[in-house]
Symmetry: C2
Subunit: 343 residues, 2 copies
DNA sequence: CTGAAAGCGCTTACAG
DNA sequence: CTGAAAGCGCTTACAG
């Protein structure tokens, strides 16, 4: 505690060079030629003194904090992300780490505290920001991006030229429903993952609708329910769906976690899966293959989403990519038991 | 981008005061009396200019970054935490936010990269650190704490005087097993949540053993299997347990997530839960009540763990608590269907 | 190839 | 009650 901090000045003195030189060798600055001998002297001195550059001072002087922010929306967190946020973080950490960059994490309540990341940027605490599941009506975000502050979205916002990475929710959902159609189902219900005011749920619902219409099955609103991230909402939605006079023979639930609740509701009504009702989820939460029965679902490449978002953000910070670049990652249908055997 | 940054000097000039005064009113420094009129002038000027203090400069000058680090072990992450890390983060964010403090997140691989947080501290990037599920053989950690760097553990380390918050895993496990005993079970298997080299798994196993012995049932190693965080490990462990000649009538799985796999294995053997085999988990992952059947388990107060860890760390940073304080939070047995009806 | 010096934007004793 | 000035520990043009 009491021991004085070792600074670059100490290293410089011990090595008999200037602080400039110390800075150059410690940071491996390119384009500057330092004699190998001098370099070694500095390195040895630094080593001997246990010198670790002060990150704050470096940040102030270089105008780069080498910290990026990841802000997730707390309503999203509300379970879906229990598996994903961590995967995203994993992917993200994986790429930023290689660049010596750190990750600051914050969450945003449903609406309020949206200034959280605004302040993060204004106070220059971070060099760039990644937003997971942004709200579409977020003004601050637009402002920030327009000022040229590096921001990358995980999930898209309509008509905004902000970098983003996402999956094609519509196509993915269509694939899932086409799978049910191919099994011979015609009475297919749909439970969204969240309220349709968000982009992803709306897209998934649209994919469901497109698949039906393409098979000449009229879209029927009475077979649609809106989930709300958690299993509770799936339980309620399915319970309500089971009240309809004409029971569906299959249901597409646009979220595995919501599907868990839906499956519980089906069991509670003494119906079997997939025999009485086939179920297809969305996300491929790691747990899904261990559910009973194992859940057929669409795999969302969460870690890749994080990795790609990180790369994009780093490129943005270094001005190596134009703002507005949208990246779409592939999804994959994972067929398990909950949808029944392929005909 | 091009517009010059607004600094405290600009605010000072506009308000006709010194930067000192600006600093005082912006930071609401106590013990300094500023005329209300001056204060207002500063506030108005700051507002008009859109002044936001540069966090990095503040950190360098005040020697406090106002960032704390949360480092989780990646093997832990390996699913159990999929629910918990987020809850911990939530609780943590909840308390630190009120103090204007930010959260830096990093993970540590099984063994390597343990220097991750060491460097975080040495480079003074953070004011303190919270470690989730630390390895018991971590030397750097000890060194760091001994230097007086604020560190709080979530989960305990034996014989170390480092602040920590934890639950009493032994007692909690005993409660869970006593519940099975009270239901008349005598042949009770055990699947740990992780290898017994970690503290928590060892304690939970000990609780299992104590409960049995207290009921005069000899502890039998052949009914013990070691999980490894994920459902896969539970599936394997249970499959192996189902190979024993004398089948258990109940199993205590020291992790809900591992229990999911175990339950899948039970179903795969065409056995029913709880009729053929009763199952009790540990953690109360949010999903557990929606599993089929809903899982009886021990609730781990994850958000409270995060909150308490945050409070402790802040106290430590402000020297308001002696290092070494250990906090134990209560757990609660949540009885659901997987353990059967109470006799 | 290396160094002297200014500067990053704040805070904080110390005066008065 | 308020200000002048040093200092936090680096980086980075600019010289030479």
């Amino acid at each position: 505690m009491a021991k004085r901090r070792v600074t670059s000045r100490d290293v410089a003195e011990r090595a008999g060079v200037s602080r400039t030189t110390v800075s150059f060798v410690i940071n491996k600055v390119e384009g500057v030629h330092i004699t190998e001998e001098t370099r070694q002297r500095v390195l040895v001195a630094a080593q001997a003194l246990g010198y670790v550059p002060d990150a704050t001072a470096q940040a102030l002087a270089s105008r780069r904090t080498r910290i990026i922010g990841l802000v997730f929306s707390r309503s999203y967190h509300h379970l879906t992300s229990d598996a994903f946020l961590l995967q995203i973080v994993d992917g993200l950490l994986d790429v930023v780490r290689q660049h010596g960059i750190r990750l600051l994490l914050d969450s945003v309540e449903n609406r309020d505290r949206e200034d959280a990341y605004l302040n993060l940027a204004r106070a220059k605490r971070i060099d760039g920001i990644i937003l997971s599941l942004p709200r579409s009506d977020d003004k601050d975000l637009r402002a920030l991006a327009e000022e040229g502050f590096p921001v990358v979205l995980i999930g898209r916002l309509p008509d905004v030229k902000i970098c983003s990475v996402d999956v094609d929710n519509r196509v993915a959902a269509r694939t899932a429903v086409e799978h049910l159609l191919s099994l011979g189902h015609t009475r297919i219900g749909c439970i969204t993952n969240a309220p349709p005011s968000f982009t992803a749920p709306a897209e998934r619902l649209r994919g469901y609708r497109e698949a039906l219409e393409q098979a000449d099955i009229p879209f029927d609103q009475t077979w649609v329910r809106y989930g709300d991230y958690g299993p509770e909402s799936g339980f309620e939605a399915m319970t309500s769906l089971l009240q309809t006079p004409d029971l569906p023979s299959a249901v597409f639930v646009a979220s595995d976690v919501v599907a868990y609740g839906a499956m519980a509701a089906i069991y509670e009504h003494h119906l079997r899966i997939p025999d009485d009702i086939a179920v297809v989820g969305f996300d491929d939460v790691p747990l899904s293959r261990f559910f009973f029965p194992p859940l057929t679902t669409v795999r969302l490449p969460a870690a890749d989403l994080g990795r790609k978002a990180g790369q994009l953000l780093l490129d943005l910070i270094l001005h190596q990519v134009e703002p507005g670049r949208q990246v779409l990652l592939d999804t994959e249908l994972i067929v398990r038991d909950s949808s029944g055997k392929v005909a």
